[in-house]
C-alpha cells in the first residue's frame, strides 16, 4: 500500500513570528527557545515510534504521533503535522503503513531542520 499526502508548505514562518508577541525584553529569544526544544524533541519521538512499531505497541506509536502533530502544528511545521496526524489515526499504528509514514516524517524532518536552523541562525547569529 502506498500512502500519499497532500503536499503542503513545510514551515509557515508567519506562525513562528506570532510568538514574537510573547517575547519578554531582556530574556533569550522565545522563538529560538521553542525551536531548540522542538529540534531536540522530534528525534526522541521518532525513536519512540520506531521502537513501538518494532514491539507492535500501537498505543505508544499513537501517543508519540499525537504529540508530534501537536507541537508541529503549533510551530507552523505544517507537512510534519499532517503526516503525524495520518500516523496517529491509522487503524493499526504499528503496521506497515506506520513504518512508511515514519519514513516520510524522517525525510520531511531533514527539510524542516534546514528551514528551522536557518530561522534560528537569523534570530540568534
Amino acid at each position: 500500500m502506498t500512502l500519499t499526502h497532500t503536499e503542503t508548505q513545510a514551515v509557515d514562518l508567519a506562525v513562528l513570528a506570532t510568538y514574537d508577541d510573547a517575547q519578554i525584553e531582556g530574556e533569550p529569544d522565545f522563538v529560538v527557545e521553542l525551536l531548540d526544544i522542538y529540534l531536540n524533541e522530534v528525534p526522541r519521538l521518532f525513536d519512540s515510534i520506531r521502537k513501538a512499531i518494532t514491539n507492535n505497541e500501537g498505543i505508544t506509536a499513537k501517543r508519540a504521533a499525537h504529540s508530534l502533530r501537536g507541537s508541529s502544528g503549533n510551530l507552523g511545521v505544517l507537512q510534519m503535522a499532517t503526516i503525524a496526524g495520518e500516523l496517529e489515526h491509522l487503524e493499526n499504528n504499528s503496521g506497515a503503513s506506520a513504518t512508511e509514514l515514519l519514513m516520510s516524517l524522517e525525510n520531511e524532518f531533514e527539510r524542516v531542520k534546514e528551514i528551522l536552523n536557518a530561522e534560528r541562525q537569523r534570530r540568534s547569529p
Partner: protein, 133 residues
Amino acid sequence: MPTDSRKTRRILIADDDPVIRHTVTRFVELEGYQPVVVNDGGAAYRLLKTDSNFRGAIFDMMMPHLEGIEVMRFMRTERRLMRIPVMMITSELDLKLMANSFAAGVTIFLPKPFTTDQFQSTFRLLLNHQLEN
C-alpha cells in the same frame, strides 16, 4: 478547609509535550500568573493530593500515566479542588468527546494549534468563569 483559590495567582499546567508546555508557561506568565508546571497527568494528580492552592488548571487531554480528563474527574470529587476551573488543551474536535468532557466538569477547551491571542482569550474566560461561581 478549602483554600480560597480566587486569591492565589498559581496556575497548574500539565502537558507531556515540551513545546506546548514551554509555550503555555510563557503565556501564563505574560498574563501575570505564576505557572506551576508538571510533565504528565500522574504528576498533576500527585501534586493535587496535597496542594489545592491554584487559581486554575490547564491540562493536555492526552497524557501518559493519567489523561487530563481523569485528573479533572478526581478534582471534581474533592471539595478542596472542585472550584478550580480547568482548561483542556486538545487536538481532537470530536463533539461527543467534548460534550462528555463538559459533562464531567471541563470549564473550557483550547484546540491545538492555538495562537497567543486564542490562548489569552480562552485563559481569561477560564478565570472569569471561576469568579462567577
